[in-house]
């Protein structure tokens, strides 16, 4: 369990063995329950929507097992969300929706899917809300410690690598994290995609979640490196709006953030449906 006592022990150790790689960046593992087959239980806590599609080509008994697991799941999760981020000449744009569904029930229309890591880095939330919130918050703590110890800002590449290593050590525990680490450091605007399967990818644009195919359509069509700040923000907003329209598991409000050398700023927070009606009106007027 992550207790204050164990964190303090870590601090003492690191002051003695200064700059030791292990103690500086290690975390105490979250405990597994003391039962037989702990991994099976851990993986059965959240059942994901995507498991449904994997069933289609499996033999009967495999399907039944997956069905049983879904029935016994304590939380019906789904990567039902749309988040996107892209880097361009003047910085990074991050846009997210705000819907949380549990199966097909809309649990909330006002979820914060962007978690600030520090003043110039944002992390996005997709998959299991609790998992993402905890690990991104933890990443914020580690980044802060790094800054205090090394007297310099941590790079986005290093921060994402830290999170990647932690998540890789929890591989097969049934975590569900599909997060993007977006920021601006000495190398310019940076964007990394981190997964609970242990992947870490670097690219200039990403979209994560069930609505991502729909967002990619709009994003890929309008993306250029030399966009103006206004156009870039509008592109992000439009892409999420399109995804909320097409995808049933995305919706609520559309939040857009911008990161440049001065840090991150929340640009806008619009109701997804109102935004759609507004864009429709504009289209009609243009015609």
């Amino acid at each position: 369990m992550f207790t204050l006592g164990s964190v303090l022990d870590n601090e003492l150790k690191s002051s003695v063995e200064d700059f030791s790689f292990e103690t500086e960046f290690s975390t105490n593992q979250l405990m597994l329950p003391n039962i037989e087959k702990p991994f099976e239980f851990a993986q059965s806590i959240i059942s994901l929507e995507k498991d449904l599609d994997e069933n289609d080509n499996q033999p009967m008994f495999h399907q039944q097992k997956k069905e049983e697991r879904k029935e016994r799941a304590l939380i019906k999760g789904s990567k039902g969300t749309t988040t996107l981020a892209f880097i361009y000449e003047k910085g990074t744009v991050v846009a997210v929706d705000s819907r949380a569904t549990s199966g097909q029930y809309i649990a909330s229309q006002s979820v914060q899917k962007v978690v600030p890591v520090n003043q110039y880095m944002l992390g996005t939330l997709a998959g299991g809300a609790a998992d993402c919130q905890f690990f991104l918050g933890h990443l914020g703590r580690i980044c802060n410690l790094y800054e205090l110890r090394n007297n310099e800002k941590i790079s986005v590449a290093a921060a994402s690598k830290l999170l990647n290593n932690i998540l890789y050590s929890y591989r097969n525990y049934g975590l569900s994290v599909g997060s993007m680490i977006c920021g601006y450091d000495t190398r310019g605007p940076q964007l990394y995609y981190i997964d609970s399967d242990g992947s870490r990818l670097k690219n200039s644009l990403f979209s994560v979640g069930s609505g991502s195919p729909f967002a990619y359509g709009v994003l890929d069509a309008g993306y250029r490196w030399d966009l103006s700040k206004e156009d870039a923000i509008d592109l992000g907003r439009r892409a999420i709006c399109a995804a909320t329209f097409k995808d049933s598991y995305s919706g609520g409000t559309v939040k857009v953030y911008h990161i440049d050398e001065n840090g991150w700023v929340k640009i806008s927070d619009d109701d997804a449906s109102e935004l759609w009606y507004r864009y429709e009106e504009k289209e009609k007027k243009n015609k």
């Binding site: 569904t101 097909q104 995808d247 449906s273």
Partner: protein, 192 residues
């Protein structure tokens, strides 16, 4: 939902495949005659097939009986058609609403996919958001509502329930049936 000598049926108009929304204008509520409205939810292909099937049966009934079918008889017809496919059912949940007899008493009927009928006095719900719908209708239903009030209540119930279900929305339609005829209105819903 039933009111005083009037009934109303409301439904959304989304057609989707799993999470993707394919069409915004799929109408699932059909007029059988001036006294009966018939709505279905479920598998779209079965909805279309049964619509044609019932249209055919009603045309035949009109020709043979030389009169309009009453809602109660139609409801039994629906149940019979569904049970005939007991071991290979149509995947739909139908709702029948109408005005019965000389004094236009409201009639409501809901069946399950193999034709088990239920005749509640107040309201019937069906669809992916039926649990939410049940809750809201239970709260806002009153006896003996006039047509205008009934329209308001039904609209608000549908809008509220549809906003809590990810697979419903993207447009909705409300039909109010009184002895003077059917009024149809489309509501502006959330498109996310």
């Amino acid at each position: 939902m039933a009111g005083k000598n009037c009934v109303a049926i409301a439904g959304d108009t989304r057609f989707g495949v799993r999470n993707q929304t394919v069409a915004l204008d799929s109408n699932r509520i059909f007029k059988i005659n001036n006294r009966t409205l018939f709505g279905m939810t479920g598998l779209n292909t079965d909805i279309l097939t049964l619509r044609e099937s019932f249209k055919f049966q009603m045309n035949l009934y009109n020709l043979e009986e030389e009169r309009e079918i009453s809602p109660k008889t139609f409801a039994h017809n629906v149940a019979q058609t569904l049970y005939s496919k007991r071991f290979g059912p149509y995947f739909i949940t139908p709702i029948i609403a109408g005005l019965e007899g000389e004094d236009y008493t409201p009639f409501l009927c809901a069946t399950d996919l193999i034709g088990a009928m239920e005749f509640p006095k107040s309201f019937v719900v069906a669809g992916t958001g039926e649990e939410s719908l049940m809750g809201v209708c239970e709260t806002f239903y009153k006896e003996n509502m006039e047509p205008e009030e009934l329209f308001e209540v039904v609209s608000q119930c549908l809008l509220a329930a549809v906003d809590r279900d990810a697979l419903s929305g993207w447009g909705s339609v409300v039909h109010v049936l009184t002895k003077d005829g059917i009024t149809t209105k489309r509501l502006r819903t959330r498109k996310d």
